[in-house]
């Protein structure tokens, strides 16, 4: 019995259950005013508690949809629509995911290159880092439409502009992490390479790069999650027709709160899976490097 209480599954289930209870309580509370209005207009003056609760939890456009509404909407839009359909959540997820992955890949590459520049060149260290930091103080919601419009003007549209907004957000943690990583070798290890008369290239590939790898994975976990946020934000300003951002936007136009929430859940699931995949690759790589103790 005690083993059950102390197990990880039990802990997770307890939290999940608590969240569900709070969710349903909030749904009933927030949807009550509307439901009372519905009854009044219909001239219904008497109802049972169970009937009332049932009605508040199954409204068509609830202020806060209940869990089962969201999940059944997700089930229908994920499994019961062909994935090429515009009603399929898988279709929209893929649109967003492809922009996310492209943006993340460019951002990672770009971030590593900037970090190499910063760690190898004093002038770049002093001149570039403030700009890198400044770039992240601009609210992404403000700059995203600009990027889309400017790129459109030079003939770039579709996947790439969205991906570039992902890049804009995701290169930052990579730069910060890799600058730290490339500087992580101890003085004694650098001296050792000096005694071998190693070239700067050899020092980079034999010492700095492997030393920085653990930092790279930590940064990539942060970067891939915000790359997804970037892709979704990138879908908003153009009134995009496809992608999770478009689902959020059209949901809010038409008061389709159930649709909004299922898109939000989908985004969360995607983000969690992406971070997990990076984590698995990290485990594999560090194991091959003998770094796991």
């Amino acid at each position: 019995m005690r083993a059950i209480f102390q197990s990880k599954t039990f802990a997770i289930l307890t939290i999940l259950l608590t969240l569900l209870v709070i969710w349903y309580a909030m749904a009933i509370k927030l949807n009550t005013p509307w439901q009372l209005g519905v009854y009044e207009r219909a001239g219904i003056s008497e109802w049972t508690n169970s009937q009332f609760i049932n009605d508040t939890l199954n409204q068509k456009r609830p202020v806060l949809p209940s869990a089962h509404q969201v999940f059944s909407e997700m089930y229908v839009t994920i499994f019961q629509k062909p994935i090429t359909s515009k009603r399929s959540l898988v279709y929209h997820s893929w649109i967003t995911l492809s922009a996310t992955l492209l943006g993340f890949a460019i951002g990672t590459l770009f971030g590593i290159l900037i970090a190499i520049g910063i760690t190898n060149n004093k002038a770049l260290d002093r001149s570039l880092m403030p700009w890198v930091i400044a770039s992240q103080t601009i609210p992404i919601l403000a700059i995203a439409p600009m990027i889309i419009v400017v790129l459109n003007a030079i003939g770039l549209s579709g996947l790439l502009p969205k991906a570039l907004i992902s890049t804009y957000l995701s290169f930052f943690p990579i730069v910060v992490g890799m600058v730290k990583g490339f500087r992580s070798p101890k003085g004694i290890q650098l001296d050792l390479m000096q005694t071998y008369f190693a070239s700067p290239m050899q020092i980079f590939f034999k010492l700095r790069w492997p030393s920085a790898l653990p930092y790279l994975f930590t940064s990539m976990k942060v970067a891939i999650a915000i790359a997804l946020v970037g892709a979704i934000v990138g879908e908003l300003p153009t009134g995009a027709v496809a992608g999770l951002g478009a689902r959020l936007l059209s949901g809010s136009y038409y008061g389709q709160t159930v649709q909004i929430w299922s898109a939000l859940f989908m985004a969360a699931i995607l983000a969690a899976s992406l971070v997990m995949i990076v984590g698995l690759i990290e485990k594999r790589v560090t194991k091959n490097m003998g770094l796991t103790t």
Binding site: K186, I188, Q189, D191, L192, M193, Q194, T195, Y196, F197, A198, Q202, K206, L207, P210, L213, M289, G290, L291, T293
Partner: protein, 264 residues
């Protein structure tokens, strides 16, 4: 070649510029070390013994005077991979196995695969580490890690080995064992070894020549040629000869005022 001293320093000084003003790490050092000698540098911290070793290795540049390694400038010597350097801590790369760590310097010079394998086996057997090739550093004890770093320093077959307090972090028992192994290695490989330590018994036990140094500025206080035989069982440390040399080292250290200053 054998007439050229392995190391020769002439009026060598080295000053570090710091925010608190210049620090005279070494002042007017004159020293010659010949082929096959085992030279210990001993002195309190701040006496410049490590700095001198680093100057030989071209990790620091003298600000005055000159120093030659095998008749070359330290930079040329480093380019020719004329020495192996063992640091205070093993400085092994944690993502490389024992054999990959030993292979690091060979990868940098670039030699054939079969030659590399031979090198690894030979140097690892010299430090008694056969059977541990596939282990990672964190799976080894501190003493074994330091032995790996010695094997790594032997990779170039350099005839000069520079060692900076290599056994400082190890316990006495392991240290005794490694001291004996090191002496054996030195005799067999006919190398010249420069060894920085602050243990008097270690210096006397290992060396054919002991350089006693004094701090602020770092100067040579005394140079003692050891009369101990090349064959040295651990028991030699209780002989009168051994104790006499240790006494002279201690006198040299005391004369350099380093203890008075600390008491004041």
């Amino acid at each position: 070649m054998s007439n050229t001293p392995v190391i020769s320093a002439k009026d060598m000084s080295l000053t570090f510029e710091t925010n608190d003003g210049p620090v005279h790490a070494l002042k007017d050092i004159n020293l010659e070390i010949n082929e096959g000698e085992f030279v210990s540098f001993i002195g309190p911290s701040g006496c410049g013994k490590t700095t001198f070793l680093r100057a030989i290795a071209d990790l620091e540049k003298p600000t005055k005077g000159e120093i030659f390694v095998n008749g070359m400038t330290p930079n040329e010597a480093r380019k020719n991979r004329a020495y192996g350097y063992v640091f205070q801590s093993s400085a092994l790369l944690s993502w490389r196995t024992v054999e990959q760590n030993v292979a690091l310097p060979l990868e940098i010079t670039g030699i054939s695969k079969s030659e590399k394998q031979q090198h690894i086996e030979r140097t690892l057997s010299m430090v008694d580490l056969i059977g541990f090739e596939k282990k990672y550093p964190h799976q080894l004890s501190g003493g074994m890690q330091q032995r790996v770093s010695i094997a790594r320093a032997l990779a170039f077959d350099a005839k000069l080995l520079l060692m900076d307090e290599p056994f400082g972090a190890l316990d006495e028992i392991v240290r005794d064992h490694l001291n004996r192994q090191l002496l054996e290695l030195w005799r067999k490989a006919k190398m010249t070894i420069c060894f920085v330590t602050h243990s008097i018994p270690e210096a006397v036990y290992l060396s054919t020549k002991i350089v006693v140094m004094s701090p602020r500025p770092g100067e040579i206080a005394d140079i003692i040629d050891s009369s101990l035989p090349n064959e040295r069982p651990l028991e030699i440390r209780e002989s009168k000869e051994f104790l006499d040399i240790a006494h002279r080292v201690r006198e040299g250290l005391r004369a350099s005022h380093s203890y008075d200053e600390e008491n004041a």
